[in-house]
Assembly symmetry: C2
Homo-oligomer: 300 residues x 2
């Protein structure tokens, strides 16, 4: 066995024991695609039984506060929790969009809580391959629960829905106006709705409408009302997170097949030089009527 | 010339003249990837000088109402406008997430306004390739402006930022709480901020904070205050849309290079059977510790 593999095996067994330093090192290797990352991933013992909960919703819904409250509650139950905060970032300068997650600082020193931010940089495609790989690293440690927090109602939560076993969509009472146009699609994405800031006007009406919508579609999606910053409604939400039935196997299969397809794609495209394409396009754009489809034909 | 190409040439010249029926037919070919779609795209005279404005923001920000108000205003100026409403949809059943856009119905019969919805179905990756192709079809007609409306603050508006020449991020005063954590990243994504529902409490403070943020980053991003449903602030926003300086050429090059890369990718991957991958994964998942990275290695 070569020395790299010896190192990786040591790292992997430390991760399995719950060593945060080893975990952080492995995540950094994977996040930045540093040399042994691919061997590391192939050597992992990925425990697919660790529940992964996605928490998503539009800006201002109070997702971070909710994640904090959930973490508090679960720490009280002696659970080991990993939180992966996914920050969308610009493809233009690779900067992080959401910056510091100040409100999360509270748990940074808790021995049972591991928190990591990941910027989905450069990926014109929602949850990046990196995030998926990082969740696989987390799955190979000894957590009782992995939480993925991400902002957005659009494509990103659909992708989270694939990555997570169950997805919680966090909304505020004010969302009611637009949500009434959102029908069955949301129910495939979310396994639970949370109406946060439920002490605000219109919360009951909105929650009732969501429940009515769920019934009309003959679904079994719970609607929780929470006031995360006052710890209201958190214990029943946590109860659902810990004790809800098995995940949708079909969804997991679909997701993994997509992931396999993408990985194969990446390997097959390794020889294509993106910078060369960019250079050629810069030249072609001199023509006001540049036709991309003709260009691709010529490239092939 | 074969009969298909004759048909395509007729279609293309009708589109160039602004025939909505021909346009709708071409968009349907492209959206559903019906046989002559690829020849159609290669034959288009794509006018890259037509301005494309992306309008994005979280649910409840009032994007549709704003698009309506902008359209009203520009119709008054005798402009020809195409609106592409991008609805994220579930990858699981290909259903449309946002359903009917009732509030848009108002302009459906205006002779200078063409409205089309597109569901980004099946694409685990934000704005789909289809959307980009449909914009290319719209660019080959005689519109003065193309508006792309999409929901989401997350990945999707980053992709819109690539597709559009300029992107308007619509926010409501209540977003202030979360937006204060969002820093320079947003400024690369949006070329203008709109604080809609600006008759609500906190609007001035929020708009001022945005302006302060812009100044601190030494950017030139205007902050508009609108009350779209009362037509307040619309004319100055439209003035900016019509008369704002040239687009960021670097961004367009980057975007087109990404698109070329994806198109090449798709052509190269045509021989890979996704269903076969799915079938294999179903078998592999019998193992609780299924390792995707080993699986992909075996597949290659």
């Amino acid at each position: 066995m070569d020395s790299v593999q010896v190192y990786l095996n040591q790292l992997i067994s430390k991760i399995a024991e719950g060593n945060f330093l080893a975990l952080a090192r492995a995540l950094t290797l994977v996040e930045n695609d540093i040399a042994p990352a691919s061997d590391l991933l192939k050597s992992l013992s990925i425990n697919r039984a660790v529940p992964v909960v996605g928490i998503t919703g539009p800006p201002g819904a109070g997702k971070s506060t909710l994640v904090n409250a959930i973490t508090d509650e679960l720490c009280g139950l002696n659970k080991r929790i990993a939180i992966l905060a996914v920050d969308p970032s610009s493809p233009f300068n690779y900067g992080s969009l959401l910056g510091d997650r100040i409100r999360m600082a509270k748990h940074f020193n808790h021995p049972n809580v591991y928190i990591r931010s990941v910027a989905t940089r450069g990926s014109l495609g929602g949850v990046s391959a990196k995030t998926i790989e990082m969740v696989d690293v987390l799955r190979s440690s000894n957590f009782d629960l992995i939480i993925i927090e991400t902002v957005g109602v659009g494509q990103s939560e659909i992708e989270i829905a694939g990555l997570a076993d169950k997805t919680i969509l966090v909304l505020v009472p004010e969302a009611g106006d637009e949500i009434q146009h959102i029908k069955s699609g949301l129910m495939e994405v979310a396994q639970a709705f949370v109406v946060n800031k439920a002490d605000r006007e219109g919360a009951d009406g909105f929650a009732n409408n969501l429940q009515k919508m769920v019934r009309e579609q003959q679904q079994q999606i719970p609607v929780f009302k929470t006031v995360a910053d006052k710890n209201v409604g958190i214990s029943s939400l946590c109860d659902w997170i810990l004790n809800e039935g098995p995940s949708d196997r079909t969804k997991i299969e679909y997701f993994l097949a997509e992931q396999a397809f993408r990985l194969i794609q990446n390997k097959r495209m390794k020889d294509i030089d993106k910078n060369k394409i960019l250079t050629l396009i810069k030249e072609e754009l001199a023509s006001k009527h540049f036709n991309m489809y003709q260009f691709v034909e010529r490239m092939l």
